[in-house]
């Protein structure tokens, strides 16, 4: 990485950034012998939105998978002060990390409501779960109309809403969102991003957002990192990243 880029890197300095909900440092990950991430570092603030930008194959999805233990990873992943690197996905989820995966991960043959109930599977406060179900329906009224319908019959946008709502049912501290805009009509994308901001305001949840649509991501995020072939080449406050010449040319198109 060259010196001009280094200037606005926001790798958290020790002792100063106590508010970081998620601190990732020197994270390496890959598939079998094929290495994808070469030691990346970034942070998500409590109640903040951090965006990971980058082209296809940069390692954005792999980063999310590494954070929640779906791929073998080396390095440090600290969630609210606790080291979670190397733990199983089930354990990480139980610590409050909800992942809306690439491809949405819908349980196609279960009903919408069963999908949502599964999101709260690890919770023991059954009474509150019922309340959260209703709240998810206020975020996404379309899901309430389809509550008894098989999830596989939902449209792409509805399934994306379902995936986000399912993740919220965990009452997560950290929400990992993988390309929520993928394959959706612009109006649906707007709706999903509007709800995402509402969720951030109403619930104290940190969001790590992977998005190919850089302008959209920079609009909602407070921090952003640019990945290129498994390395962070630029990082910092979202407005600063958005003003960077290289980002504007390559990812924002002006």
């Amino acid at each position: 990485m060259d010196a001009s880029v280094r200037g606005c890197l926001a790798i958290p300095a020790r002792g100063r950034m106590m508010a970081a909900l998620l601190e990732v440092s020197r994270l390496q990950a890959g598939y079998g012998a094929f290495s994808v991430l070469h030691g990346i570092s970034f942070a998500v603030q409590d109640g903040g939105i951090t965006a990971l930008l980058g082209a296809n194959g940069a390692g954005k999805t792999t980063t999310l998978r590494a954070v929640c233990g779906m791929v073998k990873a080396a390095g440090s992943v600290v969630l609210a002060g606790a080291q979670i690197a190397g733990r199983s996905t089930e354990d990480i989820v139980r610590r409050g990390v909800a992942h809306v995966p690439d491809g949405r991960g819908t349980f196609l043959h279960l009903t919408t409501e069963e999908n949502l109930r599964l999101g709260a599977y690890t919770r023991r406060d059954r009474a509150d779960v019922a309340g959260d179900l209703e709240r998810c329906y206020t975020y996404f009224p379309r899901l309430e109309e389809r509550r008894a319908q098989q999830a596989g019959t939902l449209s792409g946008g509805e399934q994306q809403m379902l995936a986000i709502a399912r993740a919220l049912m965990l009452r997560p501290r950290l929400l990992l969102l993988d390309e929520p805009s993928f394959g959706l009509a612009p109006l649906v994308v707007q709706e999903i991003f509007r709800i995402m901001q509402r969720i951030r305001q109403e619930q104290q949840v940190g969001i790590l957002l992977v998005e190919q649509n850089a302008s959209l991501a920079l609009e909602v995020a407070d921090h952003a990192y640019l990945l290129e072939t498994g390395r962070v080449v630029l990082g910092g406050r979202a407005d600063e990243v958005g003003r960077n010449e290289a980002v504007r040319k390559s990812y924002l198109g002006y």
Binding site: C68, L110, R117, L118, Y121, R166
Partner: protein
């Protein structure tokens, strides 16, 4: 007419047993995508355990309950110890493990209990019911089967654990992402399948008698039932079980004779695979290319 009705009713009784065993096959198929060839031998072994307890002076129903619990534990252990290591292995490896399990259980049962045929008591009275149309045991077996099926339906449809097991069967990756311990759900599936098999074994043993090969025919009917209903459909397996039971009895009594009864199962299997591979209620998987 009365003879026909008699055959139908007694077909329903054995059909219920095929249905239970078919259901056990479907449960393991859903999580592993393999047919458990050892399902019948597992049930046979459970029945021997019950026989041991009853012979030791235990009451029938206490032995029944203990056998179910014990079989549940053994089923989970089999998954943990034998199946877990070959989870990612090629198809043939898994099938060899299933066949190995079949042979081992069969030999161990023969070694402990010898291959001599033993009688297995029925908990129901000996007198026939409905004016001789069916035996009390047949009626009782239908009742027990229905109770098992209803309990399973309630478990899978209305409990969080049942929902989690259904989730794991169709999407293990997403199941992990909502915090379900997938490995334990698979073990639980094996435990349940073994327990259901134990019930089937204890219900069929008073009819076919107890010996280490008692379940081979029954398992074949259960295969036919599961395929007829659709190998991925629990409801289908149950309907298939009752259909095969009735078909077998009626064909055996009036059309082909008892000697060729088992052929009915084979014909059903071949016919289903040729005409409608996904079964009556199975999911037809269409893939876009």
């Amino acid at each position: 007419m009365e003879a026909f009705l008699h055959q139908v009713l007694s077909g329903l009784a054995t059909g219920g047993i095929y249905a239970s065993l078919a259901l056990a096959l479907v449960m393991i198929y859903q999580s592993t995508h393999f047919i458990n060839f050892a399902q019948g031998e597992m049930a046979m072994f459970s029945t021997y355990l019950a026989w041991t307890m009853i012979n030791a002076g235990m009451s029938w129903w206490l032995a029944f309950v203990l056998t179910i619990l014990l079989s549940f534990v053994i089923g989970m252990l089999i998954e943990r110890i034998l199946i877990r290591p070959v989870e990612q292995a090629p198809v043939l490896t898994v099938i060899i493990v299933f066949i190995g399990l079949l042979v081992i259980l069969n030999s161990v049962a023969g070694w402990i209990y010898t291959y001599t045929i033993k009688s297995f008591p029925s908990p129901f009275p000996a007198e026939p019911v409905f004016g001789g149309l069916m035996s009390a045991h047949e009626l009782g077996a239908i009742g027990v089967t229905l109770v098992v099926l209803i309990l399973l339906y309630v478990f899978f449809q209305f409990t969080p654990l049942g929902l989690a097991m259904r989730a794991v069967a169709q999407n293990p990756v997403s199941s992990r992402l909502v915090g379900i311990r997938v490995g334990w759900m698979l073990a639980l599936g094996w435990g349940l399948a073994a327990a259901i098999g134990a019930v089937a074994g204890m219900m069929i043993a008073p009819i076919v008698y107890l010996d280490p090969t008692m379940m081979s025919g029954v398992l074949l009917y259960a295969f036919a039932a599961a395929l007829l209903g659709g190998i991925d459909s629990p409801g289908g397996a149950v309907v298939g079980g009752f259909l095969v039971g009735v078909l077998e009895n009626v064909m055996g009594a009036f059309v082909i004779g008892t000697e060729l009864k088992l052929t009915v199962a084979l014909i059903v299997i071949i016919a289903v695979l040729l005409v409608r591979p996904s079964g009556l209620f199975g999911r037809v998987i269409v893939s876009r290319v």
